[in-house]
């Protein structure tokens, strides 16, 4: 597991998402999903670069399907961003780093 990325389970999901001091992005993924694997290094980069601004977490839908079902996830990768425990943004499908950072800009400090 990449540095700075939290692995969530059905048991820990609520507590981690509710108690996160920054917005938290949860990556719903699975081993058999090629686009999920493709975005893993992008998320690992962002986790390191945005320490203190945006937390990154992963949830394996194979093992914790109940959480996926709760949020109506029907396609992976799906990225959900929570702030103060509330769902703020849903991104479905793999994105390159540039476009992903654009989509996440409201949660990140402005670059200028």
């Amino acid at each position: 597991m990449a540095e700075g990325i939290v692995t969530l389970t059905s048991a820990t999901f609520d507590e981690v998402v509710q108690s996160s001091s920054t917005p938290i992005l949860v990556d719903f993924w699975a081993e058999w999903c090629a686009p999920c694997k493709a975005i893993a290094p992008v998320l690992a980069d962002i986790a390191v670069e945005q320490v203190g601004h945006l937390a990154i977490a992963k949830l394996n839908v194979d093992d914790h399907g109940d959480i996926a079902q709760r949020f109506g996830v029907m396609s992976i990768p799906t990225l959900l961003v929570f702030d103060k425990g509330e769902l703020q943004k849903t991104l479905v499908g793999a994105l390159g780093k540039g476009r992903l950072l654009q989509e996440l800009s409201e949660f990140l400090p402005s670059s200028h």
């Binding site: 999903c33 493709a38 992008v42 029907m74 990768p77 479905v92």
Partner: protein, 315 residues
């Protein structure tokens, strides 16, 4: 013009990566601009990134997974010194040499170009698609099949890809309607037999999906019989589309000679486009064969054409 590279390869499916292996081994130090991550087939590695088992690529007697095959291609290209940029070309200028290629504001120059941008899946073109994609409407059976366990779903299309998807999805779904526009398949015989033999697949001939229903997620679709024009509801929670492809050539409109359908035109028996020094290979210029092995073969042709052309220019 000493800063221009020898060759830039645009696209990284079997054609582009084979061209990279060959040009790298010819010491041309290729740069591959491999595309941008996405959940459609328009992504680094191309269409095979969304497939499961590839059974017809020679050299793999027991089959190989599509993404694994493409990772192998890429590793092999990298081994000989190919440079990669994971992004999408936004503009090209082939009107003068060196040729110029941009990724947003960054310019790259090269004395030759190999175009291997491939093709991407066509969608149904229905207005509801945008809101339902990822919520029951899918472009990636291998990514999303899992979410349709014990549900009834539809696959649209009559070619090899449609049958491959339908067969794969029977691992999860309780029933798969295979919606075919005509009264026959376009698919190869072995795939047709596979569809007909699968008890979970029901083939709906002469039919088209004309509407998708559901607010937050797909709750059903409307089917129209292409002969009687009668419509009826189709009670499915998932729709997977495999009705064909269109070439990724928007970037080259008005620049490279192409057919009305958008496929690039190459000189028969070669990879030459109408601009000397610009070569094309793979599905972007092939609407006939469209196989991983033919794409790889034409990528090899492009690399050899390119190497010889550069040598002749140098003399």
């Amino acid at each position: 013009m000493s800063t221009a590279r020898n060759v830039i390869i645009i696209g990284s499916g079997p054609a582009g990566l084979t061209a990279a292996i060959y040009t790298a081994r010819a010491s041309l130090a290729p740069l591959v601009i491999e595309g941008e991550l996405s959940s459609t087939s328009d992504q680094p590695g191309g269409q095979l990134m969304l497939t499961t088992e590839v059974e017809n690529f020679p050299g793999f007697p027991t089959g190989i997974m599509g993404p694994e095959l493409m990772t192998n291609f890429r590793d092999q290209a990298e081994r000989f010194g190919t440079e990669f940029i994971t992004d999408k070309v936004t503009r090209v200028d082939f009107s003068a040499r060196p040729f110029r290629v941009w990724i947003r504001d960054t310019e790259y120059t090269a004395n030759s170009i190999i175009v291997s941008t491939g093709a991407q899946s066509l969608m149904l073109g229905l207005p509801e698609e945008e809101s339902l994609i990822g919520h029951g409407l899918s472009t990636c059976a291998t990514c999303d099949g899992f979410f349709f366990r014990n549900q009834e779903i539809a696959v649209v299309g009559g070619g090899d890809s449609a049958i491959e998807e339908a067969t794969f999805l029977t691992k999860f779904a309780s029933k798969v309607y295979l919606v075919v526009r005509r009264d026959a398949f376009r698919a190869s015989r072995i795939m047709q037999d596979r569809a007909l033999a699968n008890e979970k697949i029901e083939i709906v001939w002469n039919s088209q999906i004309t509407a998708l229903h559901g607010e937050t997620h797909l709750t059903g679709a409307t089917l129209v019989d292409t002969i009687t024009k009668e419509s009826r509801p189709l009670d499915v929670t998932g729709v997977f589309v495999a009705i064909g492809h269109r070439p990724n050539t928007d970037l080259f409109k008005g620049i490279l000679h192409m057919e009305d359908s958008g496929y690039l035109i190459t000189k028969p028996g070669s990879s030459y486009t109408d601009i000397p020094g610009v070569f094309a290979c793979g599905d972007v210029q092939d609407h006939t064969y469209r196989q991983a092995i033919t794409a790889a073969g034409s990528g090899c042709m492009a690399a050899i054409d390119c190497e010889r052309w550069l040598e002749a220019e140098h003399d």
